[in-house]
Symmetry: C2
Subunit: 183 residues, 2 copies
């Protein structure tokens, strides 16, 4: 079964702290605004169309810092719009992933918002909107955080170099317990 969505009653203002590893004063409303503003900027710059549907799906993905299943999003959309079919959600997610605004976590078959889509055009190999993304995923609190680590990037490049392998796409997902959940 799918992970439980947070109880809407506990999340009424949509600004509850579903923590990226329990940051103390995390203002989630601002966090989401920033992400949506960034998404607008990315799309404006690159000619993508952040339609109301896509924008809303992105907003729903950003409701928490925990990966969300496509069918969870589908249910949320159905609450708002009545009949909605899976392709509606998957097409929106495809677009958002293509723009690098959302990442799919292969090990969870779930999706999470990308906090630095706007800032990371430098690591955009192909001129498409994507960038390699590496995750720490806490199996206790369910949060997933995208990490940037030069040493890890270097090791991957070096591995590719020495084997003559041309990397097109990376899945790096480390599951375990975050520092906070170890106490």
């Amino acid at each position: 079964m799918r992970q439980n969505l947070e109880n809407p009653a506990e999340n009424s203002a949509e600004n509850r702290v579903e923590n990226p590893f329990a940051q103390p004063g995390h203002d989630h409303a601002s966090c989401v605004s920033a992400a949506l503003d960034g998404a607008e900027a990315v799309c404006a710059r690159r000619g993508g169309r952040l339609t109301p549907l896509r924008r809303r799906v992105l907003e729903l993905v950003w409701r928490s810092h925990r990966p969300v299943g496509a069918y969870d999003l589908l249910a949320l959309l159905q609450d708002e719009r009545g009949r909605v079919a899976p392709p509606t959600v998957y097409r929106a997610l495809d677009f958002l992933c293509a723009q690098g605004l959302v990442h799919r976590l292969d090990s969870l078959q779930a999706f999470i918002g990308c906090g630095h889509a706007n800032a990371s055009d430098d690591s955009d190999r192909d001129g498409d909107g994507q960038h390699p993304a590496h995750f720490l995923i806490c199996q206790d609190c369910g949060a997933a955080v995208e990490v940037r680590d030069g040493q890890l990037d270097g090791a991957i490049s070096h591995l590719a170099g020495r084997t003559g392998f041309a990397i097109a796409d990376e899945t790096v997902e480390l599951r375990g317990r975050c520092a906070d959940c170890q106490n």
Copy 2:
């Protein structure tokens, strides 16, 4: 749809070279024998029961160096045994994965034999049979090779250390084109 299985007619002796990145004189029959012998050893040592069914599934996984879908294996088993249901395959795969004899590639939802289950008890954190596995997956020839890279391992450990994250499980899958397929 699932990736095509190699044509059985092209693979009659089960020793055709479905290359781990096209190694010149790869003797696949020996390669598989070694894997099966190793599997027997691992199970003997650790009290796992490599039943005929499980052994056969392992052998089928090893037919090539390309990841195989569970339903591909199911079809192969059905050819041999008539009615076989999905749980039969999934249970065998669960066992083989638990013993570290097979790995699941999350990004492909497919399975591949592990060539060093026998040799890699040192990196077995939990005393279960598993070890972290990192893959290069060629999108051209379809082969997946499990790589061992100290620098990569180090970078992952270091990342975990500096973030206080306790890793329980890793998914590292790099997709692209292998050296041979770049020509």
